[in-house]
């Protein structure tokens, strides 16, 4: 059995708002083994990005803990975290907003190295930057360009090179391809999978695009309003979705062939309810086609149904 590289225990993040506590992440337990990819899917506002950031402690958790290679990093101080961050990096969603417009490509890629002082020799840093650019498929002539001179796909490659510059073990990918065109998206996905094979990287891949997540992940966690409602291996989840929300989500994906055209789909009515001071019980209750009274019972946990398949729904008690 592999040891998990990163693990969370009952992780919670509540944001204070004038109307009450916003439960962005509410008791999430995930663990990712070395060299594997966990896909996190869900609609806007379900807390998937917050989860990614809390894992890296870019946002401090309200309660619960994060373990990296078995060590609890929740209470690490600033210096310990700086050391820790060499092992964990993030790729952001928007390649337009996440690169400093006043820095050249080489400055951007070299910045983490300079901050963490992993390499101090100027010449060696330069070599490292060139290596990284080659790894992610950026032409050498772009080394002194500014972000505005590059298109979205190339910018995202810069973001990936920057994340790789400290040779991390674990990378949180926060919707890295959702702002790209499909043909460019496919190039970036291939690149990320190649890098994983070569360097043994572990990814947490956050996305709302279910076909992308199936392609890249070994395991998938489905989130709804701050909670993980279903977790299974990627094939198992798509072949045998158990939670009513997962079923509806999978049914909502428009598929690019004609065989399913005109089929009546299980479209869920209504919209995501407010994450501020949620009621006890199942958060999907209001939209669920199979809701019953017992759904409002206060304790719902992920239950192991089958090997590697966990669901949090009273239907499977």
């Amino acid at each position: 059995m592999n040891t998990p590289i990163i693990q969370t225990k009952n992780l919670k993040k509540y944001f204070k708002t004038p109307k009450g506590d916003l439960h962005a992440v509410d008791g999430v337990n995930v663990s990712i083994n070395k060299g594997e990819t966990l896909g996190v899917v869900g609609e806007s506002g379900c807390g998937k990005s917050t989860l990614g950031r809390v894992l890296l402690r870019l946002i401090e958790p309200t309660s619960g803990s994060v373990y990296f290679e078995g060590n609890d990093i929740t209470n690490y101080d600033k210096n310990q975290m700086l050391e820790m961050r060499k092992n964990m990096q993030i790729i952001f969603q928007d390649p337009y907003a996440s690169l400093n417009p006043r820095m050249t490509i080489s400055d951007i890629i070299a910045e983490p190295i300079k901050v963490c002082k992993t390499i101090t020799n100027k010449h060696e840093i330069e070599n490292k930057v060139q290596d990284l650019m080659e790894t992610v498929g950026l032409a050498e002539r772009l080394i002194n360009s500014y972000p505005h001179e590059l298109d979205g796909g190339r910018r995202q490659r810069v973001g990936i090179a920057r994340a790789l510059s400290l040779n991390p073990k674990f990378i949180v990918c926060d919707e890295p391809v959702s702002s790209l065109d499909v043909s460019i998206q496919a190039q970036i996905l291939n690149l990320m999978m190649d890098l994983q094979d070569e360097m043994g990287l572990t990814y947490m891949f956050i996305t709302h695009d279910l076909s992308v997540v199936k392609h890249i992940s070994k395991e998938i966690a489905v989130m709804y309003l701050g909670q993980c409602v279903e977790k299974a291996t990627s094939d198992e989840l798509f072949n045998n979705p158990m939670h009513p929300y997962t079923q509806a989500l999978l049914d909502s994906i428009p598929i690019a062939n004609l065989s399913s055209k005109g089929n009546k789909k299980r479209i869920i009515k209504g919209e995501v309810t407010s994450p501020i001071n949620p009621k006890p019980g199942c958060r999907f209750y209001a939209r669920c086609p199979k809701s019953k009274d017992i759904c409002l019972a206060p304790d719902l946990h992920l239950k192991e149904i089958d090997n590697n398949h966990q669901v949090s729904c009273v239907l499977y008690d």
Partner: protein, 320 residues
Amino acid sequence: MSEKLLEIENLYVEYETDEEIVKAVNGLNLIINKGETLGLVGETGAGKSTTALSIMKLLPEKVGIIKDGSIILGDINITKASDADMRLLRGNSISMIFQDPMTSLNPILTIGEQISEVLELHNKEMKKEDISKRVDEILELVGLPKERKAEYPHQFSGGMKQRVVIAIALACEPKLLLADEPTTALDVTIQAQVLEMMADLKEKLNTSMILITHDLGVVAQTCDRVAIMYAGEIIELGTDKDVFESENHHPYTTGLFGSIPDLTKATKRLNPIDGLMPDPTDLPIGCAFHARCPKCMDICKKNKPKEIKKGSHMIKCHLY
């Protein structure tokens, strides 16, 4: 055969600035019949939105210029129509739904006021009570409670705002609806709701629709005919069956399909198209796709391919 509603012939659109000329649409031919939905697919910069804006004649003033060609709706030539004529047409015969529902509504007017605005402009003699009744009807049609018509856009969620935008577009029962990525900004479950509603409404009102999108899945589920655009041209056009199930394709279409991860099959690697879209200020000679094409021949670099038709299926490629 069904009746022709809109015919675009040999359309050329350019954006002229002091520094450069961007050739956005290059010789586009398209016919839309009554009651059908046409999917216009392509990547960013393929000229999809420019085509829609040309039909509405909403190209940026003095910069966006229709160089050549004609757009004919019924018996009106839009390319030659005056501004006053266009004002009568827009919102009445042709309507447009924009991509971003968050920015296409006026934040300081209630949604009821915004829907009645279209009705007032196009039905001068309509009484106030009738307009108000019609607003209620339309709101019901798009699945919004009429009690909420006195609320402002910020009080609605993204999916509901898009319903309001659709309500405005359909208020005068237009003959042609241009939907520019209507669901791109929405979550999948909401997207499914909105698409289903649009299909129902189209059926009820017998409107023709051009659905602009980059999502082949959305196209497969909603459109009768599909046009694939690349660098300002339609490179493949056909019925949904032609494009999704036939064996002959333009290499670009094949590349597009190779780029989407397939949910039904497990594939280890995607087969994307190498390289990037050509620079629209400096289009290559010959086929615009030749630099990225895996099946490129010598002739592709010299001559522009012609439209080759086989029944309802058209492909613009030297291979055929």
